[in-house]
Amino acid sequence: MKRKLTFALVISLIFVTLLSSCAPLATPTEATQAPTQAPTQVSSEETIPKEPIVIGVPSAFSGPIAYVGESYMMGYTLALEELGNEIAGYPIKLVTADNACNPDQAVTAVRKLVDVDNVDLILGSGCSSATLAVMPLLPEAEIAQITEGSTNPKIYDGSGVGGNIWQFRYVPDDRIMAEGFAPFIAAEVKSLSILAYNDDYGRGAAQSYQDILGGLGVEVVSTEYFERGGADFRPLLLNIKEDKPEGLLLVATESDGIVILRQLKELGLTQKLFARGAIVTPLFMEMTKKEPGLNEGIMEGTWWAPGLDPKFDVAFVNRWGTAPSPHRATSYFIMRYVVKAAIEEAAKTGTVDRKSIRDALEKISVETPVGVISFDAHHQAYPNMAVSTVENGTIKLLQVLETKAPTK
């Protein structure tokens, strides 16, 4: 009996381990398929198949924002499928690692990708705290990382001429975006509270807006922070209600944004709402289709909005049967244009490896539906950003803004 039970426990533990390790890879597996179309005419030197280029994707695949990691994978997969799952003749293989948006786990995830999976390029690490934690590992491993969603300004300061030549960032950071979006806020309100994540993303964004809004004559009366995946935001919202600001800037993604906006309505806050994250997005509308109007009238300034690339908007829905979002779009643009251009550039040297990909990233300049993408001395790219709002239940693109290097 004792042996049977022990055996059963061991088997169940093995089953659990297998299940937990394969779950986050459910989406990626589709992207790892080898190209299905063989070239019709093959020259003698092309008969030897090229070694696949392995790209690591460390992101949050567990925890309250696991859907963001899954979102990145959707964008990468769609782009790869459009590219025939190969770039410059090299099959592309995606490998994921879960960092749960946590700095400690982020380091482990990148070490696993570098040492075990032997990846050639990293697309990550999702959250600002995770990206900042793994940046010191990149020079040691001599591997380039293109960051897809971390908007903390410290990443700009430390990359390229800032010291870390292996770190590149596609999305504009919050200092850059605040310079574009803050005038829209200043045109509407003269006092503001900020409600942001209690991590490097939220704190970086809050600080950026505080710095810039002051110069535009907007008084930031309070700044409150909260954890991801929280449930009860009413104490914070009650304090903001007491402060009586004219406006409220919410720095959050869809999952927490929905709960906050629901409680904000419950408590009767009537402030003009602004967002920096993922609130005015088709995914938000899809998630709240049973309670329309939750994000009505909110103005958001971020790096993507529907309408910037209508072809992508349609292709995404057709492929996945769900709505796009900034995270789903940014990963698509990175793979479809930036990674493609970098590997093609690296292929010209005859060797595609970690170093040649890094060198190529410094050289590329590629036309995309969101502007020309190249990396400056701080390895920062400048895709266009968008200011949009929700009117009568529909997202309305107010303005597309060109981004530029921060002035401070």
Binding site: L9, A66, P235, L236, V259
Partner: protein, 289 residues
């Protein structure tokens, strides 16, 4: 003063939420003397079942709640048979591993089946607000308070007055003697687990419309529920309920007046402080060896 009352009301509703979840955990511990670390995952499964019935199948909310609770009572019976019964006589370490393993399996099954995008199930009650003076509270939260009070009264009646309830108390007090007297230990254990699971389902059915459900929601709920069970006195249901409300109020006042990010720390400082003074919890009985 107004703001204090508002924070207090927040705390009470938050406490009612913790109490609903913790009650199921406490009932199971009281009878089986083991902590079910998968209780939060039963809560999560209940949330998905509600979303399936109410949002995807269009079942009216009230009926969806009834079906969710009934369905999860059955899941509770199954869970007891598959996970609990084989380890109930084993050491606490094996029980811990078994329920933790079940928790991991359920979380990953949820990821495989429903993905990671949070699901919403707003109701008419959650979208409408009762307003009097400066107090704003959604009808869903009022429903939460009413359901919490009624379900605790029903549970108390069940445990005090019915044959099954008395049998549960007997097993809780002396398992060996109950066996000698011919009580159906396995049957009562199944019913206990059904009740525990039913409470998790009731909690999820009322709470999900206020928040959302995603595969790891159970872990966060479980943390607070376990704190309430320990604070109230392991296995002491009434103590668990008082402790849950105390935790909710502490958390709301600390978040409102001191620091929101450290509100969880405040709740656990209260837990540590109480345990230093009364290691058996507020209502637990002192045991000497």
């Amino acid at each position: 003063m107004d703001i204090f009352i508002l924070h207090l009301i927040n705390g009470i509703t938050l406490g009612a939420m913790y109490a609903l979840v913790a009650t199921g955990l406490s009932v199971v511990f009281g009878v089986l003397r083991m902590v079910n670390f998968a209780h939060g995952d039963l809560f999560m499964l209940s949330g998905y079942l509600l979303v399936f019935l109410y949002v995807e199948k269009g079942v009216p909310y009230g009926l969806a709640v009834v079906f969710t609770v009934a369905g999860m009572v059955l899941v509770g019976f199954l869970f007891e048979r598959i996970v609990i019964r084989p380890v109930v006589h084993r050491t606490w370490r094996i029980q811990l591993i078994a329920t933790l393993a079940a928790s991991i399996v359920l979380t990953n099954l949820a990821i495989l089946i429903w993905g990671t995008t949070p699901r919403q199930a707003p109701t008419i009650l959650s979208q409408n607000v009762f307003r009097v003076a400066s107090v704003n509270i959604s009808y869903q939260r009022i429903l939460l308070l009413v359901v919490a009070v009624v379900s605790f009264l029903l549970l108390t009646w069940f445990v005090q007055k019915t044959r099954t309830g008395k049998a549960m108390r007997a097993i809780s007090q002396n398992r060996e003697a109950s066996v000698v007297y011919g009580l159906d230990i396995h049957g009562i254990s199944s019913i206990t687990f059904g009740i525990g699971s039913g409470f998790a389902a009731l909690a999820a059915s009322i709470i999900t419309p206020l928040y959302s459900v995603e595969p790891t929601v159970g872990a966060m709920v479980m943390m607070k529920a376990l704190a309430a069970v320990i604070l109230g006195g392991l296995g002491h249901v009434r103590g668990t309920i008082y402790a849950a409300v105390l935790l909710g109020i502490t958390e709301a006042l600390f978040a409102g007046y001191v620091s929101y990010p450290f509100r969880d720390a405040a709740a656990f400082i209260v837990l540590i402080f109480v345990l230093l003074l009364r290691p058996q919890g507020i209502f637990g009985r002192k045991v000497s060896i």
